[in-house]
């Protein structure tokens, strides 16, 4: 019954792709590090690999596992083979990783972020035709600064009953994320970039972020630059999301807004996500959980990981293959109404 559903879904997607297409290898076969993850990770990764094979995408997969190990000096780090592989290939695709509670080590995602200096989290949110939500015309991208801001983790207990948490904004990080945002807009034919801030209240910190965005905007005159308060963005987003294009913002606002936008298109089970790091490293991932209760039962929905892989193809410049796989995926979702229940389980 449902077990066969995903097997048949995957084969339908593959069937949709198998239509005759001329073979075009843009740069030869590229190797990508694949981190299957935990829970449903391995099976959705296998599904993605099969689909890519059917689409004849010039990708070769190098599987690696990521667990936290204690390195010399007592610091937690990822296994050296994984790090080597990523540094060599520069591009990675990652499934959901579990963080056991009270494991003594920080979350795996945090470890990866620190290891590769993944400073930008990019989430394109596009309404999926076959998946009905109250919002039908969403087509925006949220670019979130991922290293500092409110999530710096610097907190102190000043006196008993008074706690302070420090939000850190630096010139360097703000400039870097703004530059990435404009580059992204330019490379993906986006018309405008909106900086989201709360500078009326946090004058110096968000003020610095805004100033950097304005400075970078000067070098990208072909992309329109606007600024909007966080509350205005939230207000307008739930009324008319079609007015937004690319949004760039510091860490906390990015966290809230990217999840808000994911909710608009159907949740974390259908949202792709990419993390861009220094030195050209990019890791694309699915942001949903590991769903251990449905692992191994062929029930999991590979949409999020598949769309992240499509995002990866676009990042590598393989737009033709990306379009082919994406169209096949959307067609499958449109035809298969049953996929929606599985997706909501994952969220």
């Amino acid at each position: 019954m449902a077990g066969n559903a995903w097997r048949s879904t995957v084969s339908r997607v593959m069937g949709a792709i198998k239509s005759p297409q001329p073979r075009t290898f843009s740069r030869g076969i590229q190797t990508v590090t694949l981190i299957p993850g935990d829970g449903i990770g391995p099976e959705i990764s296998t599904a993605v690999m099969k689909i890519f094979e059917a689409a004849k995408a010039p990708i070769q997969w190098e599987e690696r596992n990521v667990t936290a190990i204690k390195g010399p000096g007592g610091r937690w780090m990822i296994p050296p083979e994984a790090k080597e592989s990523m540094d060599k290939n520069k591009i990675g695709l990652k499934g959901p990783l579990k963080t056991p509670i009270a494991a003594g080590h920080p979350s795996m995602n945090l470890l990866l972020r620190k290891t590769f200096d993944l400073y930008a989290n990019v989430r394109p949110c596009v309404s999926i035709e076959g998946y009905k939500t109250p919002y039908t015309d969403v087509d925006l991208v949220t670019i979130r600064e991922n290293t500092e801001g409110e999530y710096s983790g610097i907190e102190h207990l000043i006196v008993d009953g008074v706690v302070q948490s420090i939000k850190l904004i630096t010139e360097e990080a703000s400039r870097r994320i703004a530059e990435y945002a404009f580059e992204y807009a330019r490379n993906n034919q986006r018309t405008s970039v909106t900086a989201v801030h709360k500078a009326n209240i946090m004058r110096m910190s968000d003020g610095l972020f805004l100033r950097k965005c304005r400075e970078v905007a000067e070098n990208y005159k072909d992309v329109k630059f606007t600024e909007m308060y966080l509350d205005t963005v939230c207000l307008n987003m739930v009324q008319d999301p079609s007015q937004f294009d690319v949004l760039v913002m510091p860490n906390l606002y990015g966290d809230i807004l990217s999840d808000l936008c994911a909710g608009l298109i159907g949740g974390l089970g259908v949202t792709p996500s990419g993390n861009i790091g220094a030195h050209g490293v990019a890791i694309f991932e699915s942001v949903h959980g590991t769903a251990p209760d449905i692992a191994g039962k062929d029930l999991a929905n590979p949409t999020a990981l598949l769309l992240s892989a499509v995002m990866m193809l676009r990042h590598m410049g393989l737009h033709g293959h990306a379009k082919k796989i994406e169209t096949a995926c959307f067609d499958t979702i449109r035809e298969k109404k049953r996929s929606t229940s599985r997706t909501s389980e994952l969220c």
């Binding site: 939500t133 109250p134 919002y135 409110e150 999530y151 983790g153 907190e155 102190h156 207990l157 008993d160 009953g161 008074v162 706690v163 302070q164 948490s165 420090i166 939000k167 850190l168 904004i169 630096t170 010139e171 360097e172 709360k198 500078a199 009326n200 209240i201 946090m202 004058r203 110096m204 910190s205 003020g207 610095l208 805004l210 966080l230 509350d231 205005t232 939230c234 207000l235 307008n236 987003m237 739930v238 009324q239 906390l252 966290d255 809230i256 807004l257 990217s258 999840d259 808000l260 994911a262 909710g263 608009l264 949740g267 974390l268 969220c347």
Partner: protein
């Protein structure tokens, strides 16, 4: 039961002798009765910028028409002046009167950091610790989600809005988010009391304690402590990013929501958008001694100012909340009923909710309904 009655009587007897303090410690928070002379209340009115002045004029017009026994003391605040005299005058007027109705004062964020937001200054000086916003789906308004009925209670004085920032090293700015036990307990207490008063069954605390373990952790802990004293009300918590996702897919699951300052800003704007926009929802800021009423989303609306297209509903409903606070319930219900009846007429919807009506048309319609309702009114 009997002991509380005795305590109340004892408190009342001793009050003139021992002043307010005994009353406060014995019964909790007593808000002194608002200024009332000759049966008429005086309320401070701060027009603000953008659409504030025109909407507040409509409020005054409506009150005059309906013979509401409220006089307004108008205090202007010039948002572009750098001195704090204007806002201090406004604060003093509010202290004098106890109640205020205000429009939003614009903050020019290109000014240097020592020029603080005027609205924020007002809230912190008067210690208006609770911001209450009631989001309800209005029957006449078309929205994507139906049957929303959420009360949002937001801590109004601390959190990320502490305005404590410094540049420790050139190029590195730190902004402090302060959470204190006292304020968190206070706002949680307010939320549960309100929930009980209004017969609500569940309070949800919104936080990000998985990342900000100490700060939001403290807030959450205080909420849990207060919740244990209200066993009849269910308490749960949700992380803020999950909350926004749930709000856009299934907002009907929320009842009362309680949160610190910044998340309150985000969530209240999302909810206002869900029920139809910034022109429909009123907001109230309550402190121990003072109350200030305004629109929930605090927009200046510069782009639609003075064009007769702003939606007066939010400001008018805020004035009804004010009348309720002054215990003029009959007038409040009369005006509120007239507003809701007008809302059902799609012809009179303003541009923000998809219609083509003008502000004055809406106000005229409300006045007509009030007049036809019977009580004494002046000429239209």
């Amino acid at each position: 039961m009997h002991t509380t009655v005795m305590m109340a009587a004892l408190t009342k007897a001793l009050k003139p002798i021992l002043g307010r303090h005994l009353g406060n410690t014995a019964k909790g928070q007593i808000i002194p009765p608002p200024a009332k002379y000759g049966g008429r209340h005086t309320v401070a009115l701060i027009p603000g910028d953008g659409i504030g002045p025109e909407l507040l004029n409509h409020v005054r017009e409506l009150f005059r028409f309906s013979c509401v026994p409220v006089d307004f003391e108008v205090v202007h605040v010039n948002s572009s002046s750098t001195s704090e005299d204007d806002i201090n005058n406004a604060i003093m007027a509010i202290r004098r009167n106890g109640v205020a109705l205000k429009g939003n004062i614009e903050t020019n964020h290109t000014m240097p950091p020592n020029h603080k937001s005027r609205n924020n200054l007002l809230r912190t000086s008067l210690d208006l610790f609770a911001n209450m916003m009631h989001c309800q789906s209005l029957p006449g308004v078309q929205t994507r989600h139906k049957n929303i009925d959420i009360i949002i209670i937001r801590e109004n004085t601390e959190g990320e809005y502490s305005s404590l920032e410094h540049e420790s090293v050139p190029g590195v700015v730190e902004s402090l988010k302060i959470i204190t036990r006292n304020n968190s307990l206070r706002i949680a207490d307010y939320a549960f009391k309100l929930a009980r008063e209004k017969g609500r069954r569940r309070v949800t605390a919104v936080h990000k304690a998985n990342i900000m373990k100490l700060a939001d952790g403290l807030f959450l802990q205080c909420c849990k402590e207060v919740a244990s004293g209200y066993p009849d009300i269910e308490f749960d918590s949700m992380i803020v990013d999950n909350t926004t996702m749930q709000l856009v897919s299934k907002p009907q699951q929320f009842d009362v929501m309680l949160m610190p300052n910044l998340y309150g800003n985000v969530v209240s704007n999302v909810c206002a958008g869900l029920v139809g926009g910034p022109g429909l929802v009123p907001g109230a800021n309550y402190g121990r001694d003072y109350a200030v009423f305004e629109t929930a989303t605090r927009n200046t609306g510069k782009s639609i100012a003075n064009r007769n297209i702003a939606n007066p509903t939010a400001m008018l409903l805020a004035s009804c909340l004010m009348l309720d606070h002054l215990k003029l319930h009959d007038y409040a219900n009369m005006i509120r009923g007239a507003i809701l009846t007008t809302m059902n007429e799609t012809r009179l919807h303003t541009a923000d909710i998809g219609g083509q009506g003008t502000t004055s048309e809406v106000v005229q319609s409300i006045m007509r309904i009030i007049q036809s309702g019977g009580p004494l009114t002046t000429e239209i």
